[in-house]
Assembly symmetry: C2
DNA sequence: GTTAATCTTGACTAAGAAGTACAGATTGGC
DNA sequence: GCCAATCTGTACTTCTTAGTCAAGATTAAC
């Protein structure tokens, strides 16, 4: 059970764009540098996000990417689906579903019901979280960091 | 976020062995046929399970595989770890952890905290479930199937 | 209209996971 | 001892995902 690179970096790019604020736009070089991926790869990921309707692009000079929708309307689960597909697509019973037969291959069914339980647990997190939540989280984080006295003991990255 | 083939078939093979009962053993051809994978692939998976300490093998004639431990002591989460690794190994903050710096790259941290939440949700399911639970589930399933009147309308597979 | 900055697209290469093949080692039964 | 059934290990092929590249299309600014 692994998280794909598209999901990891795709979500980061999206949050980065959200961080740019209402109507704020960022270019591919900016995003790729901020997230530590190559411009070519960032471009590929952003294309996926654009086709998914989460971001929109402006071409030409002064162009760039920006969010296509309000952060609170962007559900992370939907973003993940676009970036990496659903967790469990494997399918034994499903392949026989059209035959209107009941599957007595108990191994299949008991394992499958476990996958379902995991899927539900994951969805419970991802379908409730919106991009707004992630941005919020970040603001709280930043506020907290500002309360820390420095600069002696504490070194801030970047 | 995808389930690996090893995890899918590995767990099936394990449940199949559990189904064989206390001290019951199955050969690779038997397991591979029952689960619909090639003998070569089943062998590969079973080797992983053996190295993980979940099953043990007897070689030579009359040989085969059997559970190495009692079903109630086999936690599914541990099996999954051996078969496919942990969900989130990606690591931005982690790479800087040794530097004792606090990460203000908020995109990284907010995304990371989401992954953590998903991981916790998944673990909540997988660390509670044991092989015994899956076998139990199967028995209930079979009992239910037996209550269905047949053979006219209902076709049972396999 | 020219230019430079930008996204767009499809093809390409690299890396990893999935799945196969085969020669070798072990063991029970005769 | 011999044979057949079985697991063991390594190397191999195939397929998917990750990541790169280069040529093209679009646009704002001058």
């Amino acid at each position: 059970m692994k998280l794909g690179a598209n999901e990891e970096y795709g979500l980061r790019c999206l949050v980065r764009l959200g961080y740019a604020g209402e109507g704020g736009s960022l270019t591919i070089p900016e995003i790729s540098h901020a997230e530590g991926v190559s411009p070519a790869y960032a471009a590929k990921i952003l294309r996926i996000l654009r086709k998914g309707g989460f971001v929109k692009a402006a071409r030409g000079k002064e162009g760039g990417y920006m969010l296509a929708r309000a952060p609170e309307s962007i559900v992370i689960g939907e973003v993940m689906d676009v970036l990496g597909g659903r967790l469990f697509e494997s399918s034994f019973c499903e392949t026989h579903a059209g035959q209107a037969a009941i599957c007595t291959r108990s191994v299949d069914c008991s394992v499958r019901s476990l996958w379902r339980a995991v899927q539900v647990a994951v969805d419970h997190v991802l379908s409730k979280a919106t991009l707004r939540d992630l941005l919020q989280n970040e603001e709280e984080m930043n506020a907290w960091v500002r309360t820390i006295p420095g600069p002696s003991g504490l070194r801030l990255m970047q």
